[in-house]
Symmetry: C2
DNA sequence: ATGATGAGCGCAACCGTTTGCGTATTTTAA
DNA sequence: TTAAAATACGCAAACGGTTGCGCTCATCAT
């Protein structure tokens, strides 16, 4: 029933030894006699001694804590990633400090500052959409705080990151549809401003040309990811003279909008039109009409890898000189998974 | 380009004043002359001084950090709640330390220990399913670390919590269906071992009896929340002699399973059978066939309230004596929301 | 002129733990 | 027997910032 936890000093006083002896005894330091060690450990247990971590953090200049900054925690992708990060950190005895930028560049910058002052050992970041200036990340280098970016990677050099290559997944998606006999394959892509849109498009084109099919630009339409715009995009595709028998959509939301609209148009989704999308929703499993396949981006795996890399950096930092030898650039290959029929 | 951040002592040395003067100057302490204040603040800015939080944490015995322990971060309910918690904490200049128990009682206990040693100022907990011993929470009281439970509340006395009352929502759900003209209303409930199942059932019964309808126990069937069991439950209900025209389901998953199965049975979901469920999926919006209404549990609101309460406790702790006057028991009323037609 | 007042600042302790170094005591080797 | 080495422990500084107390002046009223 202690109001305050026991301290090393108190233990020392009670045993008439010095604090250093207690500290060493608790760490089983060889220069402490066995009898003393046992005495100390016994009393420590009795008093329910637990080291004051804040003191240790301060003393060591290390907190065994990693910061995580991402746009929106409530997005399925990110919550899965954070879940993995926390699991990985826990296994290595690290703790996770969490914050979300809400895609606000200014807040992101403040959070980086805050994390730095908290003396996190390292940082995991998925950058905000609006972030245009990346100076706050470079600042961390000067303070020797390693950063690993994941999913949303800033366009700067000399960074560690893990991301998902949309191109391979897109190639797989198109190949899959080609194997199924489709020859006219449409794409409802995201806004051209997004890098992710470009990767998808590239993959599409590569897959088509590698299969000696000519690429028809009119079969790729952009949309702003809203339901309205998706509907319009679908109708544009359907009106195309080479009316597509399959469509690759930017993500699950777009796919679901399109599917819904297609059904309202009385299109037979088994025979006349098939969809493939990029998986970001776990709930595909509960739906009636779903894409026949999805490009999985493995958020859990991405989070895991990013955390692993960060901790590698943390141990190598404390070991060798702090010059960075190389930068981790991990690409998690997106992968097409066929959605189970029901 | 400092390898190490500037410290107060360094500033003091450069200006030939004492560290205490620098500290006070930075805090605009009245006993420091204006000229000195400006000198100090100017140099601090130049050197990019930022206080070492670990030192302050240690010194003050306070970390301005709150711990959050919950079962599964990747569950939509919890990620929404954490999102709210982080937002609320951020506004009050607190930081969030996050960990998930994965519904493992032992891990939960360890996490509580860890959080305590990290000297979090307070804790937000949604307890693991398997937790049977609650001693680790009482331990926190002795160390004067306030805890606020949310959603999953332990069955012990003298705790602060915010939870959602399923009963009111259930009543609303049944009333809603009664108003729509349904007289035979079924319920696919969860396993009887869950408190949440009991609340739903109680609400159902109360609504029926208040409307002077007699309660038919055979219209409530339990399931273990799997797809298989849900199908079976649905068929049981359909085989009931008072074949129900509406069904209240334990949650969205169950509802979707049931809806899927009903459609396979060629049941007209507009006319012959209507569903009402408990909202835990945000993606209802994207589906074709959905429950006509859902009992919303407001995860964001719950997280927000829990965080607010915790911070109230933190300020009142530092102010008055640490005897707890009363316990916060906030019930967020679940509320029926009609799902928009499309 | 003198004492009181207050403004402006420094001293030093403190928070809990770690760790390099010194030292006393015992053991070992020569 | 004596010097060397090993054993077991204490001293004290350090990490960075905060704060109660005391000190030194200049200012002011008497």
């Amino acid at each position: 029933m202690p109001a305050k936890p026991a301290t090393i000093k108190e233990i020392a006083k009670m045993l008439n030894v010095s604090a250093s002896t207690v500290s060493r005894a608790l760490h089983k330091h060889p220069s402490i006699g066995l009898s003393t060690q046992l005495k100390v450990q016994k009393l420590a247990k009795e008093l329910n001694y637990e080291p004051n971590q804040t003191a240790i953090f301060f003393q060591k200049g290390k907190t065994y804590t990693i910061g995580v900054i991402l746009p929106e925690l409530s997005e399925a992708f990110f919550s899965a990633a954070v879940s993995a990060i926390e699991d990985t950190a826990y296994k290595r005895n690290y703790t996770v400090l969490l914050a979300q930028s809400h895609d606000d560049a200014e807040k992101e910058k403040q959070l980086v500052e805050k994390m730095k002052n908290h003396r996190v050992d390292g940082l995991l970041v998925s950058v905000a959409k609006t972030t245009a200036n990346f100076e706050h990340f470079n600042m961390l280098k000067r303070y020797n705080i390693p950063v690993v970016f994941f999913d949303r990677i800033p366009p700067i050099k000399n960074i560690h990151y893990v991301a998902c290559n949309m191109e391979t997944g897109s190639i797989e998606a198109v190949n899959y549809l080609l194997q199924k006999g489709h020859r006219s394959i449409g794409m409802i892509n995201g806004p051209p401003t997004l890098a992710a849109s470009g990767e998808r498009k590239e993959g599409y084109i590569k897959a088509m040309t590698k299969n000696r099919l000519k690429f028809d630009p009119s079969l790729i339409v952009s949309c702003n990811l809203t339901e309205q715009d998706t509907k319009a995009a679908l109708e544009t595709l359907l009106a195309n003279k080479r009316s597509p028998t399959a469509i690759v959509t930017f993500n699950d939301y777009v796919a679901l909008y399109a599917i819904k609209h297609a059904r309202q148009l009385n299109i037979n989704l088994d025979k006349d039109l098939q969809f493939v999308s990029y998986a970001n929703l776990p709930l595909i499993n509960y739906m009636d009409y779903i894409p026949v396949a999805s490009v999985e981006q493995f958020p859990y795996l991405q989070g895991q890898k990013a955390a692993d890399i960060l901790m590698d950096l943390l141990v190598s930092k404390s070991q060798s000189a702090d010059e960075v030898q190389a930068y981790y650039k991990v690409i998690v290959a997106s992968q097409l998974v066929e959605n189970r029929k029901k």
